[in-house]
């Protein structure tokens, strides 16, 4: 019995020292880990609108079939500065998943998260196409963006999704009236 207690105390001491050491390491790494996790979760959203906090918005998306979810971008004082739409649109080879940032009623950025198109929609070659939406505020304008040559169906899918995001922001969220 006595020996068991002795061994237990010894092991407890080892565990205590180990715990202290881990507490120190945790104190150092806690902040960078939190930042990494946030970048991972919000990376696509940050890419299309900027470094803000994001919060899901409960909203009616009836009639906007591409919209999966809507996030409000909040600045430090909790003011809504814009919205990020996560959309799924049917492309040539499968679903195109993309994020669209809308700020003051105009597109602030478009980024493709995943797709099954023939090649590289959303990669470096297609960046000019995605960038050409920036600043547009009318759904019709988004529909009128020049398509990527040889990828008309894919381009249509993206244009349709961006147009839906803009229409929803204007008509349902009333984001166009900011400013």
């Amino acid at each position: 019995m006595r020996e068991t207690v002795k061994l237990g105390v010894r092991l407890m001491l080892f565990a205590l020292v180990a715990g202290l050491l881990l507490a120190v390491v945790n104190a150092v790494t806690e902040e960078p880990i939190a930042l990494n996790e946030r970048l991972k979760a919000d990376g696509a959203r940050i890419a299309v609108i900027g470094d803000y906090a994001f919060e899901p918005v409960e909203t009616d998306t009836g009639g906007y079939d591409a919209i999966q979810s809507v996030y409000a971008a909040l600045d430090e004082s909790g003011q809504t500065v814009g919205y990020v739409y996560e959309l799924v649109s049917r492309g040539y080879g499968g679903d195109i998943v993309l994020s669209v940032g809308v700020r003051n009623g105009a597109v602030s950025g478009v980024s493709v998260a995943s797709h099954a198109e023939t090649k590289g929609l959303g990669t470096a070659d297609e960046a000019p196409f995605l960038q050409s939406f920036n600043g547009l505020s009318q759904p019709d304008e988004a529909q009128g963006v020049d398509a990527m040559s040889g990828a008309t169906v894919s381009s249509d899918a993206v244009r349709g999704a961006v147009a839906q995001a803009l229409a929803h922001a204007r008509d349902v969220l009333g984001a166009g009236e900011v400013e």
Binding site: R10, L11, F14, A18, L21, L22, V25, N26
Partner: protein, 207 residues
Amino acid sequence: MDFKALRKTFLNGIFNENPTFRLVLGMCPTLAITYQASNGIGMGLATTFVLVFSNLVISLLRNLIPEKIRIPAFIVIIATFVTVVEMVMHAFLPALYDTLGVFISLIVVNCIIFARAEAFAFKNPPLLSAADGLGMGLGFTLAITLLSCIRELLGSGTIFGTRFMPEWFEPMAIAVQPAGGFILLGLTLAAVTGIAARSQKRKEAAK
């Protein structure tokens, strides 16, 4: 204890008793993560860190750890260092952390580390134990980096993400899958054993 003994212990882990190719220990991470070269070197260095420090600490405490509770004591020490590696990697190398995933935590049950604690560090002085940990760790790193280079080259045509194979090369998907890992591990093991046996024979003939 002299420099010669340290060097001998260190080199022992890399060649004569290479944990992967000679002792055939730590097969789980070897097969699971060696589908790309960066994984191999990341996993190898993380394991090396844990090996060096667990060997050092266990050796320092070898007179304080009672024989009866040595196993739980080893686990506490090893798990502590693994957790340190995991937190540091999560904080500063998030991409590697994401690809290695659960296999970082599983370094705790890597039998190389446990075997060295039990067979070496518990019976030898600290400096020698640290040298053993470093040798074994780098031996493991070299072995799995070699294997992961072969698998990445055959499976994706690249090494460390740089393309090495000519245009016409069609990547063999099986090389990056677990089954291909087994096959290539077996072939590499055979090649290393063959080379070692041949050099052994030559040495004997020279005598």
